[in-house]
Amino acid sequence: MLNRISLAVVILGTSVLLLGIFVIYPMSTMIVQSFIYNSKFSLQNYILALRQPGNLIALRHTLEISLVSMFGSTLFGTLAAWIVARTDLPGRSILRTAFVFPFLIPPFIGALAWRQILGPVGYISKIYLAFTGSESVPWNIYSAAGIILVMTMHSYPLVYITALGGLERMNPELEEAAQSSGARIFRVMRDVTLPLMAPTILAGAVLVFITEISNFGIPAVLGYSENYFVLTTKIYQAVAKSFASPNALATAAALSMVLAVIAAAGIIAQRIVLRGREYAVLSGKSMQPNLVRLGVHKAWVLPAAWTLVFVTSIAPVLAILITSLIRAYGLPPTLDNLTLQNFAQVLFMNAAARRGIVNSLILATASATLIAFLGSLIAYILVRTKLPGRDILDFFATMPFAVPGTVVALAMILAWLKPLPLTRIVLYNTIWILLIAYVARYLTFGIRSTAGSLQQIHPSLEEAARICGANWLQSFRDVMLPLITPGLFAGWFLVFMPCLRELTVSILLWSAGRETVGVMVFNLQESGHTTLCAALAMMMLAVLVAANIITRRITGGRLGY
């Protein structure tokens, strides 16, 4: 039997090793790239990239839209989580699911949907024009505001999911104490619940921030026509003509490093905010919290909640649904023009699309499970150990999510094209390269959602277990794991859903027989088959919803929403 110290070393060491192989090594190839100019080590790529005024403007745009949509998402996400977890609002169980829904819609599909709703000839725009008789609408979806709007609607579920996990395992006695001392419900929320929730809310907010700085789909659909570029669209332009300049990949790598550094700054900012405060609010006892009675406030909270659901979930899906049922794109949605032909064509004539759905399900399940394990162990190292260099681990684990998916894919090609050392095994052009890339890209979700939970657990619990004679593994398994389980499950779901619809990493790494559904949706759109694209996107959404329901059933409601 291994003694307690070496067991901890073996398990944590294995997780660091895996992180090294699957994340640090490929991302390092990219970092090295960024310093090579005309085959020599140099800072030239950074100098050239940052000297271009266009790139500096793009940098400013990236910060603007990410920060604003982070604040918006945090506001909506926290409120939504509080309503679901702490109030007696009728229909909460439906809301619990409905608030997650926007997260299931791929960003570029969401952007296309909003163009169909609010664009110059969108459904709402047409109604507005018909009522007012004016020539054009007073808003412009092709703008920073449009991008921020779509991003916010798209990513508030990230804060919602992490905050909900935190609320559901928070000791309700504190709130009850405040309430019985006569504090009114909103005062309790402001003075007790919110401050206690700060770590998980901030964890969600940072995830939103990093999601948005690396988002390509939304600014690509909404930014071009107004010449509004962000760093990700600039990086895309750099790699788009990779053979035109010998330094194209290096330029993209250098710009990506800028994004990675911004993401790191976001995480450091989060630490500074939380520093010196005690957040260990979990006593280990679990109990049903008393629900806050909304009373007269129901009259406006209920419609507000459902408006949020309608605007962020139902409206874009309706727009995609209408497109998927239209005979030819651009025709008005009258009865004559409706058809099921698009669905039939995607389902029966497109073997690659069917394979894509199956592959994506396998990949998403495998990635989410691997990340749940690896992420919780890395989170433990970050929060509970004094391992030197653990901040660097955190930086590398975050980096694949902070840079555009395309760049992660390029790093994976650079790292894994050749056979593994001493073998003939080639990971490239197999499903494994997709799995590795997904794990690398979304690992930070697993780490952040469990790290937030770990910070809420007082070290005394673990110490107590140790004093009673438990070894490290026993205390981790019997004390920590049950307490971080809600966070772990939230993390699983946070990884599963985006992997199921993943596009930007897969687009360079798929190969014949290893298609993913996200790539197939994008290829249909890019080939000019808008209606078929919408039909496949609807089918993908159906799979996502079904996956959610099935996971919830299997796990008795602990997993899924």
């Binding site: 690509a220 010449n227 651009g330 003939r424 095994i425 808008t530």
Partner: protein
């Protein structure tokens, strides 16, 4: 111990499966060296729409049952990025590359990644359909034309008609920063006497927009968000034939004529099968498939094109200097950006 065990099992399972899958991929090594019947596996990287390559794949399979043709389909930009990373990491994994326009192939040629060879029926192709140095050949022809929503009134007939104030704010051009065909078109118009950058300045002054790519122009013309714009002929024919409210004209000044080349990669491990695919694509049969499947105008004069399209010789075209497209890349991007950021 459960967690520890599970973790170990997962990790070992992962490596076992990885090893298995690696073996499976490494196994079918191409056997054909100089044999008359090509066999083995070849991989095509292309930006040709998925449904078209899928069906070409079926046709090719019927003709060469011993060859497995695998396809990686993505936008021209993604194809290039993938190839560049592969080149950097070792060698390009494709045997064939078939993307939008010749200037990219000039880049490829410049970096020494193409294999020189003469397809079986190369003689029948007009000279503009092939590289003088013999590295690439047009597998399809695409043309940048003037497209419009049927609500456009008056209907445009020329590039200059896009400047008509009745279309103000409802005209678009695919951006040259990410689309190769658009880059060639912008350069061609900018270098054509009577157009120049002045044309784009007026285009912008009329509320003209740069659009992310060709398919976005196609979508926005269909919905009426744009009334007029520049778009590739096969895409607008495709929309029109499906019933979208769009149409197009061959602009009076001439279309931008873009042979869309295919080439064999120098490091191909199965060049015979790759060459056989090019031969097939350029054959009468292959081009008839392209007409039928994708509404393309054939690259051979002896194959009839889609209904209501001019024959190859009848297409009025502007002169495109492919070398200039490549050499003035930065200038095209800078000038276009400068005009459209105002």
């Amino acid at each position: 111990m459960k967690l520890y065990r599970t973790l170990l099992i997962l990790v070992s399972l992962f490596f076992t499966l990885a090893a298995y899958s690696g073996q499976a991929i490494a196994a079918p090594a191409p056997k054909s060296t100089g044999a008359s019947v090509p066999s083995g596996k070849i991989t095509l990287y292309t930006s040709v729409p998925q449904d078209i390559v899928d069906r070409l794949q079926t046709d090719y399979k019927a003709k060469f049952p011993a060859v497995t043709l695998e396809v990686f389909r993505a936008g021209t930009s993604e194809v290039q990025a993938k190839m560049a990373a592969e080149k950097q990491a070792g060698s390009i994994q494709a045997d064939l590359v078939w993307v939008a326009e010749p200037s990219t192939y000039e880049d490829f040629k410049n970096q020494g990644i193409l294999l020189k060879f003469t397809p079986a029926e190369a003689n029948i192709l007009p000279s503009e359909m092939k590289d003088k140095d013999g590295y690439y050949f047009a597998g399809r022809l695409i043309n940048m034309v003037v497209a419009f929503n049927i609500k456009a009134n008056p209907k445009p007939a020329a590039w200059k008609d896009l400047l008509n104030p009745v279309f103000k704010g409802k005209l678009g051009f695919p951006t040259p920063v990410s689309s190769g065909a658009a880059e060639a078109s912008v350069r061609t118009l900018a270098d054509t006497p009577g157009f120049g950058w002045e044309y784009f300045k007026q285009f912008r002054a009329n509320g003209g927009k740069q659009i992310k790519n060709n398919s976005a122009v196609q979508e926005q013309l269909s919905t009426g968000e744009l009334l007029v714009g520049a778009l590739l002929d096969y895409m607008i024919r495709d929309s029109k034939s499906k019933g979208s409210p769009v149409d197009y004209v061959w602009p009076a000044e001439g279309a931008v004529f873009i042979p869309s080349p295919i080439a064999v990669i120098k490091t191909s491990k199965n060049p015979e099968a790759a060459k056989a695919f090019v031969d097939y694509l350029l054959s009468k049969e292959g081009q008839m498939s392209m007409v039928k499947l994708g509404n393309f105008i054939p690259v051979r004069p002896d194959v009839t094109g889609p209904a209501d399209t001019p024959s190859l010789g009848q297409i009025k075209r502007l002169t495109t200097d492919w070398r200039a497209v490549r050499e003035k890349r930065q200038d095209t991007k800078d000038q276009f950006e400068a005009i459209f950021s105002k």
